[in-house]
Each structure stands twice: as structure tokens, then as C-alpha cells.
């Protein structure tokens, strides 16, 4: 038993690598019930959550407990009304940073401010803000099954922070579209992908058939290592997966080996 507790405190970030997902877990863990949560986390890690489905502002899940029949869990937050949302989005529109970060796939650090300004909270504040039910005989709430689902939701937020908005009643697209309207552009969003122009393949001709024009770019002759050791992995941060840290460490080791060997090869020292 003490083992489990220990595991729990040592690896608090297992289900959350991004701040918003961590924030979600923090809310849960602020309620106490350490042992029950640890068991829920084990459930989540061991795959006891058989199914998890986001249906609008509700999450429906099936969790395998000790009984042969899995339990049905549902979990939801209070939906904000249209007027409340309108107020929030207007606040968001006042600062371009919100739109910019949302468009860049990131949850803005101070997003909560936009909600508090309207007397709302994006994240649940007390356990009463989370409406959860479980078909298990345990009368305590959260039971370990609900806790397991809660942890997995944290992981899901990591991958897609906008699920949190959905639980409050708006999709990312709806928010972005409304922000766009507020900027004075009523036109609905079009696919950001430019229409694929079919460029005809230039026919092969005999002209200059055997000729190579131009010199090699001097910066490819002497290949200079970049001024910084940072890679695209540092730019992207940890991937939204459970085992982000060891994965990133492994990838970084690959990048540095590949880099060193490529430098050696570029100097002719294969």
C-alpha cells in the first residue's frame, strides 16, 4: 500500500505534460483522498478504462473494476450559456494573444483570466463543479473508477487542450470562428490549406540533358554547425504522450548522435 502512495507522489506528471493538463490533475488532487486517487491512477495506467467517449460536454466511460461487469462512468462540467460564452469570447478578442496561441495549438497561459473576468472558471474549482456518476457499489465520490477516468482525461487534454472548451460547451472551431467575426470578418473560415494547384510536370527534353548548371551553395560546401544545440524537439516540447520524458530523452540522444556523425561526414571523416 505504501508503495503505491510512493509511486503516486514521485510521478505526478505521468498523465500531464502540458500546464493545462497538469492544472486539471491538480484540481483533482487538491480534493484529498490520496489513496483512492492512487488506486484510480493505477487503474488508468493498467488499462482498466475500456472506453472513453466525449459526447459534447459529457464524458462517457466504461471502467473494469473488481466485478466481472465493467462499470459505467459519466463525468461532466457545467456548460456555460451562450451569453456567458459571448462575454468570454469578447474578452478573448480584446487581446490577440488568445487567438494567436489558440491558432498555434496552445492553451494561452492566462486563459483563465478571460473567464474570471465574467465571473466564470474554465477549470473546475471545487469538487462540486465536477458532475460524476459511477455504477459501482462504492458510495464515495470520486470512486477509484471516476478517478481513473479523470486521470485519462488529463492525458487527453494534453493531446487536445480544446476538449476542455468542449466540456464547457464550445468547440475550438466555434471559438475561433466567433473571434474572427468579432474582428469584423463575418465570412466563415475556409480551409486554411491553399487550393492544390496542379502544376503540369515539365516534359523531359534533350536540351542541357547532360548538363549541371551552377555551383554548389558555399554553405553546403563548408557545413557549419548551428549556433545553438537546441533542436526542433526543444521547440516542440514534450509530445503529449504518457511517456513523454523518456521518449524525448531518447530522441535527443538520436539527434545529437546523428548531428555529430553528419558533421564528421561533412568534413570527410566518415
Amino acid at each position: 500500500m505504501s508503495d503505491l502512495v510512493k509511486t503516486g507522489t514521485d510521478t505526478p506528471k505521468v498523465f500531464a505534460s502540458q500546464w493545462w493538463a497538469q492544472r486539471w490533475i491538480d484540481v483533482l488532487e487538491s480534493f484529498g483522498w490520496t489513496q483512492r486517487l492512487a488506486r484510480g491512477r493505477n487503474y488508468a495506467r493498467n488499462g482498466n478504462v475500456l472506453l472513453m467517449d466525449f459526447q459534447g460536454s459529457q464524458v462517457i466511460a466504461r471502467v473494469q473494476g473488481t466485478a466481472p461487469q465493467p462499470y459505467d462512468v459519466s463525468l461532466g462540467l457545467d456548460r456555460f450559456g451562450d451569453e456567458q460564452w459571448e462575454e468570454v469570447i469578447e474578452t478573448l478578442a480584446d487581446r490577440a494573444i488568445f487567438a494567436a496561441k489558440l491558432l498555434a495549438g496552445e492553451m494561452p497561459q492566462n486563459i483563465e483570466e478571460a473567464f474570471t473576468a465574467s465571473g466564470l472558471s474554465l477549470f473546475p474549482f471545487t469538487k462540486w463543479d465536477i458532475h460524476s456518476q459511477c455504477s459501482c457499489p462504492d458510495s464515495a465520490n470520486p470512486c477509484k473508477h471516476i478517478a481513473a477516468v479523470y486521470y485519462l482525461m488529463g492525458e487527453r487534454f494534453d493531446q487536445d487542450p480544446f476538449v476542455l472548451f468542449a466540456l464547457r460547451g464550445r468547440t475550438r472551431a466555434e471559438i475561433i470562428q466567433r473571434l474572427r467575426e468579432l474582428r469584423g470578418n463575418a465570412r466563415t473560415a475556409v480551409d486554411t490549406e491553399a487550393p492544390v494547384k496542379t502544376v503540369p510536370v515539365p516534359p523531359l527534353t534533350v536540351e542541357h540533358f547532360w548538363e549541371l548548371d551552377g555551383d554548389l551553395d558555399p554553405s553546403l560546401v563548408v557545413i557549419a554547425p548551428p549556433p545553438s544545440q537546441e533542436t526542433v524537439i526543444d521547440f516542440l516540447g514534450a509530445p503529449p504522450i504518457e511517456t513523454a520524458e523518456p521518449t524525448v530523452n531518447h530522441l535527443k540522444s538520436v539527434y545529437s548522435q546523428v548531428r555529430d556523425r553528419a558533421i564528421a561526414a561533412s568534413l570527410g571523416g566518415e
Binding site: 494567436a100 527534353t205 560546401v221
Partner: protein, 999 residues
Amino acid sequence: MAILHGNWVHQPPRAGFFLWAETWKPVAKRRKRPEEPVAYPFALSTADLVPVVAGQFPSLPLKSLESATETLLLPATKSEGVLYSASLSSEDEPLVLEASLVEGLWLDAAQTFELLLRVPLGGADTSIGSDLRYWSQCARWVLDLLVRAKYLPGLELTPPTARWVPLLDSAVDQARLKDFAARLPGACRAVSPTVAPVEMLRSFLESALDARVRSGHESPDPRTLPAGAVRTWLLALSGDPVLKTADPELAPLAEALSTWRSPLNYQTRSRTGFRLVPPEKSGEWMLEFLLQSSEDPERLMDARTIWMTDGDHQETFLAGLGLASRLYAPIERGLLTRQPSHCTLNTAEAFQFLKAATWRLRDSGFGVLLPASLSEMGSLSNRLGLKLESGAVKPNNALGMQSLLNFRWELSLAGQALSREDFERLAASADPLVKVGNAWVELRPQDVRAAKKFFETRQDQVGLSLEHVLRLSFGDAQTISGLPIVNFDSSGPLKQLLENLTDHRKLTPIDEPPGFRGTLRPYQKLGVGWLDFLQQWGLGACLADDMGLGKTIELIAFLLHLKSQDRLDGPTLLICPTSVMGNWEREVKKFAPELGVHVHHGTRRPKGRNFVETAQKKQIIISSYALVQRDSKDLKRVEWMGMVLDEAQNIKNPDAKQTQAIRELSARFRIALTGTPVENRLGELWSILDYLNPGYLGARNFFQRRFAVPIEKYGDRSSLNALRMLVQPFILRRLKSDPQVIQDLPEKRESNVFCPLTPEQAALYERVVTDSLARIEESTGIQRRGVVLATLVKLKQICNHPSHFLGDGGTLPERSGKLRRLEEMLEEVLAEDERALIFTQFAEWGHLLQAHLSKQLGAEVFFLYGGSSKNQREAMVDRFQRDPQGPRIFILSLKAGGVGLNLTRANHVFHFDRWWNPAVENQATDRVFRIGQTKNVQVFKFVCTGTLEERINDLIESKKALAEQVVSAGENWLSEMSTDQLRQLLVLDRSEIVDTEGD
């Protein structure tokens, strides 16, 4: 020789590299079957290809390569069918593309990369096709992507595959993609003509990069990796790319990875950009946000306009700002309004933006616009540095490279002169960025420190060595006490010196000096003027005119010119290979009999005080490379006016004792003569230039690092240009093909080449003469005639080579003066990329020579003689005339090859031994000098000094009548001579023997 080609084949799911080669001569017979692709007749079979590839890339593992046959579209004409690639240019008929079957080898992506890394990037190696060269350049780009970490791990689900994917989001890679696609040679598309160049290129980049990342790291220990789908994926990124499991967790993993990557998927027609705007005087800097067209970086849209246009632009703009704020946090400060347009930065932040963020943003696909004065932070013109102005200097041969010249100096920043007060004021503000005039520039702390020190220690003048000045004005960056020299003005004689050095045509030519027995061609007069000019400034000169343009005459005229001006106040030491010592002596005596010449060689040469006295009485002392080392003590005792190295490539190895002995001798001027294209042989170039002007090109290992490796290994044009700028003042190289030279030259020039006998040859020669004369005296009539003629043959054989006479099958090198000279001259012919015929009357010598030369020069050498079949003759002539990579040296026996053949591709003719019949020799020469010859022809007749060869040669040249007799009677007239006459003709003049021991 074959030409290697390579095609990247992109026919999904098949991808790989098809390596093939062609040779100038059709290998397979053409089959004329319309509609069907025919085999490309010039392609090598796989069996023939493997050794060619192995020879070209010895370290490439070839064992596992599969053979393959592909259909290629290749240029052809209607009448001839598909054509050899190197023969295309001269065709008159319109070209079409025709499908042909080609055999070759199939390489996977990893093997391809290994191969391409071994392909030389630069150089003129004609055995590498342009297509193969192109792919090797692409491989270089892949290496660059790997070094810059511009790739990401990816996961595809159908079928489950893990791949490393190149990231081409930065502006530089986007531009490169366009440039490479545009440069893709047609030949690269021969296998898949319907694939667009850019697709072909992408396919190559993706495959090659993926293969290289896999092979570029150690396979991880699975136990160290996280469990589950992630482990399966990570292992597949290192080993087999196909994931064997159908793990249901793969789909969520793929989705998570795509979320993770999504910030990079921001690739549209425009990108977010940033413009750094400096303050008017001081205060805050502004970072303006804008949109930049990906197609045309000049097209910009400012924030005001963006906020008035439609949503697409706004969202691209906002998304870019959101991403860029991850890379450079101060951007966030500008996003707190509804319609952001900029953020402000303090000076420290602006500096940090320039130093760190600019590179990172650009590398991640954002545009960054900087004020011109800050856009090249490291560039000299914007740095704090010195402005120099020269004082008066006079030419003086005691000057030399290390002499100090005085300059007035001024401190300058961004092109503006700074007074001491200005400087103190700037230095007092601790800002890294300062405004000078209208421009903002970086003020480096180390420059400020250096400048402070400079003010403290200097007066208004600064001394700069001539070497410094030269390097400075030829574009080599220089500093004085840590301060860069940003501007340099010269006036008066120094200005003229620099002008003359950079443009040889501005020199004053020097006419034949008084006492010169001959005429100088215009380019030779210029050469003399050039030598004279450099001598006046105490600078070493390398005269590197093509073989046969008369370097010897130019040097003799130069020395005579010095004498006529009373500037020759000491002897000049001329060091040359033993094989040309006799030639030099003869030329000096012929053209400048006023110059006292002494040949210092042989066992009876003067030593010690004797030598010093001899040297002081003469103007020219000729000695050999080998003797310099042996006699260095004596040579050092003489105060030399000048020192000349002929065939200066002999000091190409700076570690050789011989070279070191030469470098230890001092002289008031140094000249190097060489006929090899010294500029293309960097080791040799350094060694010669460092002898002439010590230290000018830097230490040897610096030179290697800075020039030799980038140029020789990577064909780096900018390093090559920088080097050319530096050395060009000291090397005068005119080619026979130069328009100014060609008009001065006759179409055919004949010259005698005097070669010494080696001691071995001399001993054999004397023995045969003694024996034969005794036997001639004893015999009469027809028998006597026979002995005389047999003697002539023997002596000619000895003059050719001891082995030729002895038939001992012994080694050839170093035993014959003629052979030595021939090797030296052939090396120059080959270095000039020209071709030569060598005539001999002895078939057995032809065989020996052929074997020896092909080994010595590492190239195929032809030999045509009476025993060659008709087919062989035709094949040899055909290849010599037509194969672009065919042999360039052709030995012919005078009898079998002297008539009928057309060998106009050669423009050098060597008569190695002589028939003493100008008509026969001319007829042989006419194989080359005839219709179809486009170059000037040079004919060299070899003569062994001190032997019957020289005496007969003298007879022919001096006595016309006798010459005619000779012509009419062949060699029979010799047999009619009295024994005494014969003795005079045959006996060896011992003084002409050169002791070549250790040479």
C-alpha cells in the same frame, strides 16, 4: 575510362538508385527493331561495371549490390540512334529522346548515400556524370539538414511505418528546394520522365535522410525505452521501419504525434515576419509584425493592412505570432491588444534578438528583416576598426615582404571616422548597439578594449609590413592589435605597386637588353618586365608559362637586363634538374654570351674557397637540386644576388631535405620557374610561394585547413577565389592558347632537347667506343661497314637507355638522361591536358617505354609498331582521335607510324632517338602537323650531350651541304669515314657527364 551515371528512381513503392556507366566505344551491337527499346550500346555490362565502381570508390562495400536493367530515355539522332553522352556537342542533326535498355546496379537509400558521400563535389573528374554529381550535391544538403536537426520522427498508419521526415520550413531550405529542382539535369529524369523534378528531389531527400538518420545512431537497448506502442515506434525508427504489431494504441499515438507536430504545419503562401526598427536617437526599439510572401520575400504586408483584409491573412498572421512567441517571448508583450502591430524592445533585448532570436526564427520558417547596418553583424564594414592611409614609399629591392611601411591611421565605425572624443563618448555608454551617423551598429566590447589600447600605445602613424599590405589589398582580412582594418587607401608608388600586381597588363614590357642575341616575342618582353618589377620591390616571382613559351629566354634576358642597368652585383644561383643543366648552359651561351656561366657539378667541381672564387667571377652558377643539399656549406658562403629554381615543382615536398637545404640559402631575389599549372596543385603552390615569399600564405597546416581542404575536397569556389586573389600577383602564367600569346607564336616550333648521359650510360658508351674502334681498325670492306653500322646502333641504344642496350630487363627509372627529361616534359603535357606522340626507331625500346610510362604516369599508353595488326592500329588511332578519355600518349615506331596516320589530336611530338634524316622526321611530325590540327605544334628532338648524337646534330645544323649529303645517303656516309674521323665523332666528351647520384 568510363563515365559513371546515377538515377534516383521514384516509382512508388519502388525507390532506389540505379548506378550505371557508359564507355566511349559501343559495347553491344545496335539492334534495329523499331517500337522496342534497344540496348544502349555504350553502357557497360554489370560485370564490367563492378570493377569500375570499385576502382572509383575503393572503400565502398559492393558485395550486396543487385544488378538491374532499366529503361532510360536518352538523347539520340534519327540516323545514329542513341549517342554517347560526351559526344553530343558536335552533332548537327536534331536530337530526340529514345528509350534504351541499360544494365546497372541497384542501390537502396543507405547504399546510395554511402556512394554519394564518396563522389568528389568539385573538380573536373570527367568520369563522374553530371547526374551523379547532382545527387552528390543533394546528399550534401541532406547532411546539412542533419547537422541543423531539420527533421522529425513520424508515424504512418497504413501500413504502420516509422520514418524520419525532413523539415523544409525555413526560408533557406525553401529557396534551396526551388534552386535544386530548377538545376536538376535532364539526365536525372531518364528513368522516370513523368515525375516532376521537385517530386523526384523530395523523394530522394526523404529516403536519403531517413536512411542516414537510421545509420547515424546506435540502435537503442529496448529495455531503456518506454513500454508499449511508443517502444515499438521508437525501435522502428532505428531498425526496420515497418511496425509488425497491430497495436490498437498506435492510432492514438499517431494522433498525439500529429498534435505535437501541428505547430510546424503552418506552411502557407505567406509567413509571419518581423522587422526590427531602431529608435530615432535613443530609447525603445520596435519589432514590427508583418506578413511576408513565401514566393517573393520582397512582398510584405504590414499589420495595419492585415487588420483591414480578410480572415485568412489574419489567421496566418496570428498563428505565426503565437508560434513565434514560443521562440522569442517578448513578442507576447505585443499581443495584449486587439489588433497587435508590434512590440517594443529595450536595447539589450534588441541586441539579444539580433544575436540569438534572428537565427532561431529564420530557421523555423519566419521572416526577419533587419536594418542594413545590422543585418550582417560580423561584417567588417560595420565594425569598429582602423582606416589606413599610406605615406610615401619608394621601390627598393632591399624592401621585401617583411619591411614596415608607415600609415596614417584613424578610428572608424560603420564607415565614419571617429575622433578620440567621439570614441570615448561611445565607449562610455555601455550599450552594445550604438548609432553612428544614420546607422545603428554593434559595438563589440573586445573592439572597444582593443581601440582603447591602441590610443594609448600609438602615435599618429602605424607600421605595416608589405606582406600585411598586400594581403589586405587582395581581400584577406587583417587586424592590427586585434582591431580590424576596415578601410585602406594607398597612394603614389604603393598604389602603383598594387595596381601592377593585380593587373599584369599594366606593366612596362622590356625590350631585348644590349648584348642579347635573339629576339623576344611581345609576351616575353612583358614577362621580363614583370620579373624586373617584382625584383625592384624585393618580391619573389613564379614564372609559370606553358612549356615551350620560353621561360629560359625570359630569365636570361632579365639577368642581362639587370647587368645592363648595373644592378647585377653578384652571382645568381640557378638550380635545375640534372637533365636540363646542359640545356641551360647552351641557352645562356647562345642568347647572352656576355653572361659568365659556370656549371657546378661532377666530381671535379670546385669546393670551399675555390668555389666561392669561381662563383664571384661569374654571373650565373648552374647546379642541380641534389647538389644543393650536398654542397650547402659552400653554397651558403657565397653572397647570392639571386636564386632561380627551374622546374620548381621539385620543392613541392617541404619536408624533403633537398627543399630545406634550398630554403636555407639566402639571396636578394628569388624566382621560381615551372611549366606545371601550379595554381591547381595546392601543396606545390604553397611550397613554392612559401619559398618565394616566406610566410605569405601562412603556415602549412593553416593553409591546408583554410584553402586546400575546402578547395580540393569540396570544390569550394569562394576559397578558391580568395586564394587566387592572394597568389595571382606572384604568378605569371601564360598559356599557349591565350589570344595575346597565340598570335606571337609560329604554328610549328622545333627545338633540340639536350640531355646528359648518366654515369652508367657513359661507362657503357666508352666501352663500346673503345671496343668498336679497335675492331674497325682490324677490319675492312663490307665487314668494316657492318661493324660501323652495328656500333652506331649500339651507341644509340645506350643513349636511349642502358637497359635498351643490355637487354637485361632491369629497372628503367634513373638510368637514362633522356628518359628523365621525357618524363618531366610529359608530365607538363598531361598537366596541360594535351596529347603527345613519341617516335623511336627501335620497336624493343617502344615496348620498354610503353610499359614504363604507363606505370609511371598511371595511365594507358599506346604503342604502334610493325607487329601491330591492322585492327589494332585502327582501334588505337580511332581511340586516340575520338575517345574523350582515351590515352594521351602515343608511342610509334618511326617505320610503322611515320606515314599515313592522322593523329592531329596531339600537339607535341618527341623524337626520342634520331634517324639523322630531317625528311623522315618531318614526315613523322606531319602525323600531327597537318589539316585538322587546331593548336600550335611543338617538336622536341632529343640529343645526348657529348655523344655522337650531339656531334651529328651540330653537323646537320651548321653545315647545310653535309646535311644534304646525310639526307641523301642515310647513315651510310658514316661508314665511309676514316677511323680517325670516326674516333672524333664517337668519342665521349667526359665533361658532359652528369653525376646524378642521389638526384
